[in-house]
């Protein structure tokens, strides 16, 4: 169904430039991993706090808010370094179950983080039963580690 879109990505000038260069793709890949590391760090510090571990001296809201701006910047860097990798390999990824899985999981993780996780993190601490933030933190950790791990496995199993 999306094949024409993948074909269009494959035909972009930037995709061709990436295919022609020895260095561009690996360097973009390396910066992608760096951006992912910063992003995951900002997720994990918030999730630890939601789970009742990590920086418990600070409120859930203050940790999540401060981590939020890191998430935005690192997320932007992840996207900018991820898109050319995608367009260059669009036709391969079109047939990759792992890539499709990663994208669905990523969409779920982004949606979850922007809605439920954020809502619970900034909610008044006394208003929620203590298991709620813990469960929200655990699910967030599972979603984002799932995205990271499936991304890494694309290299091996297509």
């Amino acid at each position: 169904m999306l094949l024409p879109f993948f074909q269009w990505c494959d035909g972009l000038a930037i995709s061709q430039a990436y295919r022609d260069s020895t260095y561009l793709f690996p360097l973009t890949q390396a910066l992608h991993v760096l951006a992912v590391t910063v992003f995951v760090g900002a997720i994990v510090i918030g999730d630890l706090r939601l789970l009742g571990w990590g920086p418990v001296g600070q409120s859930r809201a203050s940790i999540t808010r401060s981590a939020g701006s890191i998430l935005l910047w690192a997320g932007l860097a992840v996207l900018l370094t991820g898109i050319p990798q995608f367009t260059t390999n669009a036709l391969t990824y079109h047939r990759s179950p792992l890539f499709v899985f990663k994208m669905y999981l990523l969409a779920a993780a982004v949606l979850y983080t922007a809605t439920l996780r954020r809502g619970v993190a900034v909610a008044d601490e006394g208003h929620l039963p203590s298991w709620v933030p813990k469960a929200v933190g655990a699910v967030s950790l599972a979603l984002w580690m799932g995205v990271t791990i499936s991304g890494r496995l694309i290299t091996y199993y297509g």
Partner: protein
């Protein structure tokens, strides 16, 4: 000077390293565990660094962030290192001459030394951290150095599969 290459050859020839190298799952699974542990470890180190340089979590006392993140950094550092050593053992002859692998080891060692020096220099007055302007200046410097060194470690690690300089 005796060469270390025969030792690497011996390591590579062992039954278990050969089995892991030839298995379709052995190497990828260890490597993926390595990456999964590293992103959490280095991610939390970077969060600490951003606090050190004053870019994030500035409402939280420095010592508190440091103390509360440290156990999690250690809990992910140990499996990161274990899986890393395992990866090297599986294919030592491939890695020992790889420029990016060697660069990674150098950056890693410098990052470790930076963390150690900061720790030793400030640990005795850990409680007074946030008020002491001299410590704040050292903290900023250590934070910038750490951000730079860990970034270089990660980037050179990801470049290891590319043998650009043979």
């Amino acid at each position: 000077m005796p060469s270390i290459v025969p030792a690497f050859g011996w390591l590579e020839g062992l039954a278990w390293t050969t089995a892991l190298r030839e298995s379709p799952f052995g190497y990828p699974l260890i490597e993926t565990s390595h990456v999964a542990c590293i992103v959490v470890f280095a991610g939390l180190v970077i969060m600490m660094d951003l606090r050190l340089v004053g870019l994030a979590f500035t409402h939280a006392p420095l010592a508190q962030i440091q103390r509360r993140l440290f156990p999690w950094q250690m809990a992910t550092f140990v499996p990161s290192t274990a899986t890393g050593i395992l990866l090297f053992c599986v294919d030592p002859l491939r890695y020992y001459r790889n420029v990016f692998f060697l660069a990674k080891l150098v950056f890693l060692a410098l990052a470790g030394l930076n963390a150690l020096a900061f720790h030793l220099k400030t640990y005795r007055r850990v409680e007074g951290w946030d008020e002491d302007p001299q410590v704040t200046a050292i903290a900023r410097l250590a934070g910038v150095a750490s951000l730079l060194l860990w970034s270089l470690t990660i980037v050179s690690s990801r470049l290891i599969p590319n043998n650009w300089f043979k």
